[in-house]
C-alpha cells in the first residue's frame, strides 16, 4: 500500500481552532472538483427528472413568465418600451434578474440546505455554493438561447457588442454570490431572517427596470434605482442585446467590478466563518 507521507510534497493536515477571518482554501476546492461536477449534475438531474416534460421546462419557464407580463404590461397597459417589442424587452432584463435571484437564493441556502451532509462528512464547503452557482449559469445559458431566438425573430443582429457579455456576466456572478453568501451567513445565525429573503427579492425586482424601462420612472426616483447596482447592469445588458441606451464608461465598469469583487470577498469570509459554526449549532 502506498503511503501518502512518503510521497514528495506531502504536507500533514493540521487542524487548529478556527480563526476569525479566514478565506476558503481554493486549492482544496480544486482537489474536490469531481464532487463539484457531481453536485452540478445532481442539481440539474433531480430538477428535471421529476417533471413530466423534464428538460423542456427550463425553456418554457422564461417564456411563460414573459407571456404573463406581456399580457398585463404590453397588451393591457401598453407600457412604452422605447420602441422595443415588449417580449424582447422583458426577456433581455429578466434573463439578468433571474440569474441574480437564482444565485442569491441557492448560495444563501447552500449551508442550511445541506446540513445533513455537512455534519457527517468532510469536504471543502465552498463546493456547495459553487455548484449552485454553476447550475444557475446553466439555466442562464438556456434562457440566453431563448432570448437569442426572440432577438433574431425581431431582426436584432448579433453584433460585436456581445464581446462585452463575459465581463457583464462576471460582475453579475460576483455581485450575486456575494449577496447570497452574506445572506446565507445571516440565516445561519438568525434563523428568522429566512422569511425576509423572499420579500427582499420581490421588492428588488420592482426596483430594477426589468418589466418597465427607466424612461417611465419619474426623474426624482432615479436616484433610488441607480443606487441598486442591478439597474446599471440590466441597462448594460440591454445596450448589448437591443442596441439602445448608452454604455457606461470604463471607469464605471471598474467601479462595478471592484464593488462586486469586494462583496464576493466579504461573502466568502462570512461563509467560511459560518461553515465552522454551523456544525456546532446544529
Amino acid at each position: 500500500m502506498e503511503i501518502l507521507r512518503d510521497k514528495p510534497g506531502f504536507t500533514p493536515v493540521v487542524i487548529t481552532p478556527a480563526g476569525k477571518l479566514d478565506l476558503p482554501d481554493f486549492k482544496e476546492v480544486w482537489n474536490y472538483r469531481d464532487l463539484l461536477a457531481f453536485l452540478v449534475r445532481r442539481d440539474l438531474k433531480v430538477r428535471f427528472q421529476q417533471t413530466v416534460i423534464g428538460f423542456l421546462w427550463i425553456f418554457l419557464q422564461p417564456i411563460i413568465q414573459m407571456l404573463i407580463f406581456y399580457m398585463i404590461l404590453g397588451v393591457f397597459v401598453k407600457i412604452p418600451t422605447d420602441n422595443v417589442p415588449y417580449p424582447v424587452f422583458f426577456l433581455s432584463g429578466s434573463l439578468v434578474f433571474q440569474l441574480f435571484t437564482q444565485i442569491v437564493n441557492s448560495n444563501a441556502y447552500s449551508l442550511l440546505g445541506n446540513v445533513s451532509v455537512i455534519i457527517k462528512s468532510y469536504f471543502p464547503r465552498l463546493v456547495l455554493p459553487l455548484s449552485a452557482t454553476i447550475s444557475s449559469l446553466v439555466d442562464f445559458l438556456i434562457s440566453f438561447a431563448v432570448l437569442l431566438v426572440f432577438l433574431l425573430a425581431n431582426h436584432y443582429p448579433i453584433t460585436d457588442r456581445y464581446f462585452l457579455l463575459p465581463l457583464l456576466l462576471l460582475i453579475t456572478v460576483l455581485f450575486s454570490s456575494g449577496i447570497g453568501l452574506l445572506f446565507g451567513s445571516l440565516m445561519v445565525v438568525f434563523r428568522d431572517t429566512k422569511n425576509l429573503l423572499s420579500y427582499i427579492m420581490i421588492i428588488w425586482m420592482y426596483l430594477t427596470p426589468v418589466m418597465f424601462p427607466m424612461s417611465i420612472v419619474p426623474e426624482e426616483l432615479h436616484v433610488y434605482f441607480y443606487f441598486n447596482p442591478l439597474t446599471s447592469l440590466v441597462n448594460a445588458y440591454r445596450w448589448v442585446f437591443l442596441y439602445q441606451g448608452e454604455l457606461p464608461g470604463p471607469g464605471d465598469f471598474l467601479i462595478s467590478l471592484s464593488v462586486a469583487a469586494v462583496l464576493c470577498f466579504l461573502g466568502l469570509i462570512a461563509f467560511k466563518s459560518m461553515e465552522n459554526r454551523i456544525v456546532d449549532v446544529m
Binding site: V13, V14, L35, F38, Q50, S121, D280
Partner: protein
C-alpha cells in the same frame, strides 16, 4: 516502530450552552431585545455558559493501529471523531494528520433518493473524498458486494431499506484510506450481510490501514481493536491495550449502576 498517523495535542472543545440547549440559534428579535432587557434589569435566561465536550485531550495513534474509543454517552467520543474528521474545529489545541484520513460517520451521506443506485455510488463516493477514477475502478466490486443486482439503475427511492443500507455500506468499505474513522456502523443489514461486513472490516485492518472506531458494542470493539482510549467527561480516563481498558471500563460501568 511504526510512524505516527494521527497526533492529538491538548485538544479542547467548548460549546456555549444557552438556556440548556446546546448551541441553539438565536433569532434577530432576541438580539434586538437584549439591550432593553438589560436596561430593565431582566436577566435573559439565555446567558451563555461554557461546556467542555473535550478537555485537554492528547494522544498519538501509530500507523496501522486500530483504536477503539469508548465512554458513556456525552463523554466526547463523537465530538473527538468529528474533530479528527475535520467536520468541526477544536476550540483549543491541535490535531495533525500524517495520513490520508477518511471518515465514515454515517452510511449513505449525500444519497439522493431521486437518483439511481449507480449515480448515488458516485455521489456518495465523492462526498467521502474519492476521485471519480477511484470509484470507477471499484464500481463493479461495490455493486457485487451490495447484492443489489439489476436494481442498480433504479432510483433509490424504490429500494427497500435493506437494499439502501447494503449499497451505502458497500460504497463505504470500498474506500481506500490509509486511516479510517468509523462511528458505530458495523451492525448493518441482516445477519448474513453483517457477517460479510465484519469480515470486510478485518480485511481493511489486514491491509495495514489505521482505524479509529467509536462504538457502544463491546463485541465489535474487541473484534477489531488492539487498543482502547476511554473517554470520560471529555478527558482521557485510560489509554492502553484493549482487554485491560475494556475490563476496567466494564467494572466502572457496573459499579456505577
Amino acid at each position: 516502530m511504526a510512524p505516527v498517523a494521527i497526533k492529538v495535542e491538548n485538544v479542547s472543545k467548548k460549546y456555549n450552552l444557552r438556556g440548556g440547549m446546546e448551541g441553539s440559534t438565536i433569532s434577530l428579535k432576541e438580539v434586538l431585545n437584549a439591550p432593553f432587557n438589560k436596561l430593565l434589569g431582566r436577566n435573559g435566561h439565555h446567558a451563555a455558559e461554557p461546556f467542555y465536550a473535550l478537555h485537554d485531550v492528547s494522544f498519538e495513534i501509530k500507523h496501522g493501529e486500530s483504536v477503539g474509543l469508548i465512554g458513556r454517552n456525552g463523554a466526547g467520543k463523537s465530538t473527538l471523531l468529528k474533530i479528527l474528521s475535520r467536520i468541526t474545529r477544536p476550540s483549543a489545541g491541535r490535531v495533525t494528520l500524517y495520513e490520508h484520513v477518511n471518515s465514515l460517520l454515517e452510511i449513505g451521506t449525500g444519497f439522493n433518493t431521486e437518483l439511481s443506485g449507480q449515480e448515488n455510488i458516485y455521489l456518495n463516493g465523492s462526498f467521502l473524498g474519492m476521485k471519480v477514477r477511484e470509484i470507477r475502478a471499484k464500481y463493479d466490486e461495490i455493486v457485487a458486494f451490495s447484492e443489489i443486482g439489476d436494481f442498480i439503475n433504479t432510483p433509490v427511492k424504490y429500494y427497500s431499506s435493506g437494499m439502501f443500507v447494503r449499497l451505502a455500506f458497500s460504497v463505504a468499505v470500498h474506500l481506500t484510506p490509509e486511516a479510517l474513522l468509523l462511528d458505530e456502523i458495523l451492525a448493518v443489514g441482516d445477519a448474513g450481510f453483517r457477517k460479510k461486513s465484519t469480515e470486510k472490516m478485518k480485511e481493511l485492518l489486514g491491509s495495514g490501514a489505521t482505524i479509529v472506531l467509536v462504538s457502544h458494542s463491546e463485541d465489535s470493539i474487541k473484534e477489531v481493536c488492539q487498543r482502547i482510549i476511554w473517554l470520560d467527561k471529555g478527558r482521557v480516563k485510560m489509554d492502553g491495550p484493549a482487554d485491560v481498558v475494556m475490563k476496567s471500563y466494564l467494572e466502572f460501568i457496573n459499579s456505577a449502576k
